[in-house]
């Protein structure tokens, strides 16, 4: 589903990514962990077509984002710690707007379905700015899933969520992974990373320094090794 080879992204003299190779198979759930500044967000933004790499190649679902940007973007659901929601619009207005941007034929019905799924049906006419952080993130999840993307890119989705909201998000992601959705998630929280991912990738100083399936990882040994690898 994702093939990234030799990704380099430089901001002036500083390389945020320094030759990243990453392949994610269809239906896989991969967690990318790493300290702040490791390049996790930059990697996800490149995969989501929001940022162009300085060099290297990316294929999403076998497609080249540089040539078929719109087709690639239809495959991607993107969720980050920023909600990408208009705070001066209602929950329903936000989702209906994005449904129109994705040309959804069943837009209104899909919006109703997702508002129910994320437990915001009774707040549909309320402005997003009146929502708590957890409610905003639930609505952001609905926005990301609106067009039924086969690939989910999640950048620090747990940021600012209370334990209950975090658990709900983990349950939702586990369910989606069970349905065959490909998930690539970044976090700096090792426990969360190990709980969600079938495979764990460690990114440090813009490079992949570790890539292993979860079954092969012992929790205690992993923490020690993580600290050693990330300095």
């Amino acid at each position: 589903m994702i093939e990234a080879h030799g990704l380099i992204k430089s901001f002036g003299p500083r390389a945020a990514l320094d030759g990243v190779d990453l392949t994610v198979e269809r239906g896989e759930c991969v967690t990318v962990v790493g300290p702040n500044g490791a390049g996790k967000t930059t990697l996800l933004r490149i995969l989501a077509t929001l940022t162009r790499p300085t060099s290297g190649t990316v294929r999403i679902g076998g497609l080249d984002p540089n040539r078929t940007g719109s087709e690639v973007r239809r495959l991607i659901g993107f969720l980050s710690h920023r909600t990408l929601l208009y705070e001066d619009m209602t929950a329903e207005q936000n989702l209906r707007f994005y449904a129109r941007m994705y040309d959804l034929e069943d837009g209104p019905a899909r919006v109703d379905e997702l508002l129910g799924q994320v437990g915001l049906a009774d707040r549909r006419h309320d402005l997003v700015r009146t929502f708590s952080r957890g409610m905003q993130q639930r609505l952001a999840v609905a926005r990301a899933l609106l067009h039924r993307p086969p690939l989910l890119l999640l950048d620090e989705p747990y940021t600012g969520l209370d334990p209950q909201a975090s658990r709900s998000l983990t349950d939702l992601l586990t369910g989606l992974a069970g349905e065959g959705c490909t998930i690539l998630l970044t976090t700096h929280d090792l426990d969360q990373g190990l709980a969600v991912g079938q495979r764990v990738v460690v990114l440090a100083r813009g490079r992949v320094v570790y890539d292993e399936r979860r079954e092969a990882i012992g929790a205690e040994g992993f923490v020690e090794m993580y600290h050693r690898l990330t300095g």
Partner: protein, 223 residues
């Protein structure tokens, strides 16, 4: 057809957000009215003097009121990363530009609709004639288009409120001069044919700005 549907979806979204907050229109309207009354009472113009000064005062007021709206319109996209939401959608970048520019144009036109009759009454000049309205429309289209492109650049800078006028006013200079000159001559009794040179300049400016913005907006908002 899809392209047009998405352009109008963005316009409808901007109008819906504005109907909830009214922050863009109220800021533009309050500024315009204040500027209008200050100029009107400070200059105390009548007759030929009023006709000579009115176009400049009108376009200065519209230009600065426009900056307030343009700046806020793009800042709204930046606030919670909504610009990323737009860029993630399977939509041509130029559709995003046209949607934002059309929304900004609507806000400017709403202010001008309120401003022109008041301006005519206070300065006693016949602004509400089809030729003047046509020149006003042409000038506003170019200004809104250039402003949308430059607001997208300015919104990513630290001093965005300062940066937008610094970038926009020099770029909009040809359109503002043409609009002021054409309006002035029309108020002196010239016909649209008499001011054909200024009108042609406005049309060419609008087309050029729209074409350049359409081609470059994607690069401006992506990085």
């Amino acid at each position: 057809m899809r392209f047009i549907r998405k352009v109008f979806a963005i316009v409808a979204k901007d109008v819906a957000a504005e109907l909830h907050t009214r922050e863009i229109l109220s800021a533009m309207l309050v500024f315009s009215l204040l500027a209008l009354f200050v100029f009107s009472f400070a200059l105390d113009l009548r007759g030929a003097m009023a006709r000579a000064a009115a176009p400049g005062v009108l376009w200065a007021t519209a230009a600065f009121a426009g900056i307030l709206g343009l700046s806020r319109s793009l800042a709204r996209e930046q606030q919670t990363g909504c610009i990323d939401g737009l860029l993630l959608a399977p939509v041509d970048r130029s559709a995003i530009f046209f949607g934002k520019a059309l929304g900004n144009l609507i806000f400017m036109v709403v202010i001008e609709v309120a401003l022109l009759p008041l301006f005519s009454a206070l300065f006693d000049v016949p602004l509400l004639q089809p030729e003047v309205l046509a020149v006003t429309a042409l000038g506003t289209v170019g200004y809104a288009a250039a402003g949308t492109l430059l607001a997208a650049i300015a919104v990513n800078t630290r001093a965005r409120e300062v940066m937008l006028p610094v970038l926009l006013l020099p770029l909009a200079f040809p359109a503002l001069i043409a609009a002021v000159q054409a309006t002035g001559e029309l108020l002196e009794g010239s016909t649209l044919a008499d001011v054909g040179g200024w009108v042609r300049l406005l049309v060419v400016y609008d087309l050029l700005i729209l074409a350049v913005s359409m081609l470059t907006f994607g690069y401006v908002v992506e990085e």
